[in-house]
Symmetry: C2
Subunit: 442 residues, 2 copies
């Protein structure tokens, strides 16, 4: 092959592949050709290829791993970070909707989404499932910053923040799926908000669109006891049974939260191959409860992780979600081996990819997949010593340790800074809104 046919080589790193065998390779790296991984191998094996590489990155003192996958977010809600405090979900939502109603339009949604996606990308998230009101703006924001996004139209019986009626929502969902059907950075999704805000009839319509376009399907489910009681009272069925009853559950369905579910509901989730997006930060902070993650893992449910929005969080820190996924359930169940580090790491890598129907494209470092990957500094005091890289990733890595991020081989974060966009105008734009946002719930 001629010189220059390799776009990028990363070498001298500890490679955490997240592949089927969960291989961890000392002194290794990858070669990237045409946005995809051409090889994952030792630095010694890479050496003869180096003269063909247009760029070589030295990964010494760093872990190379797949970009993180966040399966539940509302990035645009970063506009409202820390605005609504100390309320349970239901009362909190009423206040959030008041603020969103006063502030959100296409422009402000994009502004908030850029801010949220910037935070995510800087922390090493390269793919996010994001539910927000103006999905085209969500795509624009993701492209401006440089990450892959699973998103699409929201279904919501009231007019919502984009003030659409049901017919318009259906049209929006159809059009979105059509427009992005062949995009490699958008995973079209249909996103009914929840069983307490969407009628069975509209749930069924949303599902039909998802099925017709082979799109992803995501909704909030069983987040609080109050929600379960509400759905039980309205329909005589629990949330998961309600969704199952209307044929909402399959392998392309991502249910956010699933905090309050019984054994049979766990069994339904496993049988239907549904993905549960565990959101420990918002579940704790809103007082929703602690999800039965060990039981779901035991039952074979695919568990992934989400940050939820910064209005509940109050940030978008997948490393915190990861660490909590690994340790919260040990404490809550008084069982020191309740969730293993491998199980936790799977949630933000390969499970996330499978949840989004992209297991063949992302979620691990393997030849043929997109070169979505991050380099993590492991020479800082809190990384010394390091007996096991996976343990270090799960329990001691901080978002600020992420130095470089690549999306399809393009470097989108360099030394902790975004490369595609300067955030100055975004931050100024958000701060100009602050008085209005603060007044919106006044």
């Amino acid at each position: 092959m001629p010189a220059g046919d390799i776009d990028l080589i990363v070498k001298n790193a500890i490679v955490v592949t997240a592949d089927r065998d969960r291989r961890v390779l000392d002194d290794s790296g990858v070669a990237v050709v045409d946005a995809r991984l051409a090889g994952v191998m030792s630095s010694a094996e890479l050496r003869p290829m180096e003269e063909r590489a247009r760029r070589i990155v030295d990964g010494s003192g760093m872990i190379l791993m797949p970009g993180l996958i966040n399966t539940h977010c509302h990035a645009g809600d970063s506009l409202f970070r820390g605005l609504v405090e100390d309320l349970p979900l239901e009362a909190w939502l009423q206040t959030v909707w008041k603020a969103e109603g006063a502030i959100l339009n296409a422009e402000t949604s994009r502004l908030g989404s850029v801010l949220g996606f910037a935070e995510l990308l800087l922390s090493g998230v390269t793919t996010v499932m994001d539910m927000f009101w103006f999905p085209d703006e969500t795509v624009k924001a993701a492209r401006a910053v440089g990450l892959r996004v699973a998103t699409g139209a929201i279904f919501f019986d009231p007019p919502g923040m984009n003030r659409l009626n049901t017919e318009q929502r259906i049209a929006e969902a159809e059009t979105f799926c059509e427009n992005y059907a062949s995009a490699d950075d958008v995973l079209p999704s249909v996103m009914p908000h929840g069983t307490y805000t969407v009628s069975p009839e509209n749930l069924k319509k949303a599902r039909q669109i998802a099925d017709r376009h082979e799109a992803l399907y995501s909704t909030h489910a069983a987040e609080t006891q109050a929600e379960q009681a509400d759905i039980q009272a309205r329909y005589g069925r629990s949330v998961i049974r309600h969704l199952d009853h209307f044929g909402q559950l399959d392998g392309r369905t991502v249910l956010a939260h699933c905090v309050h579910i019984d054994d049979e509901e766990i069994d339904i989730l496993a049988r239907r191959q549904v993905t549960v997006s565990h959101n420990p930060v918002s579940n704790l902070k809103l007082g929703s409860g602690i999800a039965r993650v060990p039981d779901m893992l035991d039952a074979g449910v695919r568990v992934t992780l989400g940050t939820d929005g910064a209005i509940s969080g109050n940030d978008l820190d997948m490393w915190l979600a990861l660490r909590l996924a690994a340790m919260l359930h040990k404490g809550a169940n008084q069982k020191a081996d309740a969730v293993s580090t491998t199980q936790a790491l799977d949630m933000i890598t390969r499970n996330g990819a499978e949840a989004l129907g992209a297991g063949g494209q992302i979620g691990s470092l393997e030849p043929g997949k997109y070169a979505d990957m991050i380099l993590i500094d492991v020479r800082r005091p809190h990384a010394i010593p390091m007996f096991d890289p996976v343990t270090h990733l799960v329990y001691s890595t901080a978002k600020s340790d992420v130095r470089h991020v690549f999306l399809s081989g393009e470097q989108v974060v360099r030394d902790g800074a975004l490369t595609r966009i300067d955030l100055t105008d975004t931050i100024a734009g958000v701060e100009a809104l602050v008085p209005r946002i603060a007044a919106s719930i006044g």
Copy 2:
């Protein structure tokens, strides 16, 4: 006054004082004279004093707050970070003691303590209560890095890692209290390990030494159900009642953990004005359980926060402890207002100071107190927007946001780097031990 009589002015910051009124001051700062705060005031009020200042630090875009106080740590155990995983406390301790026994001496203890204290100081901790085997080395390490330390001799019935008998331990404890009685950077303490490792007779001897020297007194207590069952079986009393029975509890007593306690034990802790050091990270990770923090707060118990050691953690992140203190109990109790941000921030500031009998010296930014203070960058994407600085500190601040740290007015961290010590030799020393450490648990 002559020019140069003010050592340092910090101006233009958002000042979170943690004073009695929990004042938060926009566009403000402090003046420092002879290691102590001479004034806390607006930038406008500081302006005429600037010409008398030998140094001026611009705090624009930053929060200025008191240095954090960590009331339970074993910094030297950073040598073993991530070594022992997925075991409950009792089995975990047996393995930890094996590793400690094989590795620890005065020199390696100091090495590990320097590493641990470096991590703490970089994250903004300026005072730590630390329990480790060679307390003189702990002091040397703290002084090398630049933080205040509450420490002293351990009581432990077996020989322990320093291989002392009871008489030698008594002598060590007495001597330590005498040697550091007048040090302004050491808070002499007597530290029996726990009721399951120290006999009532030795607990009483430890207590007598603490009383004689007006030293602090700290032990592990009620960390697991197994520990409670053990003490109940041995002595016919629960852990807190056992300690109370032997007169161990007073306002200078810091009990680490207190996870498994009943209503009456909470009442005893409140009546005796004992401090509880809540360690949510290690309690979760070791599967110990979730402490009854809201109940303790309701009963008037003084609650503070600790990181515990990096062998259980696996890092020393007080910001994570803070965030968990504020949100874990909301989730565990399904009560979205279970712990307020003010209560949480008190734990790492003023409560920490009072726990260490140093409420008049540290723990808030008030005239007359030591200038132990930190500057936190609030211009990064995850800090935008910021509706309330205290909410931001509790829920969105990361250790990497800490830019500058001052101890008694001396800058010990500048732009995220230690000023007193270069860690290169420390890190090399720790890494040279890694093969022996890994082999120690065989």
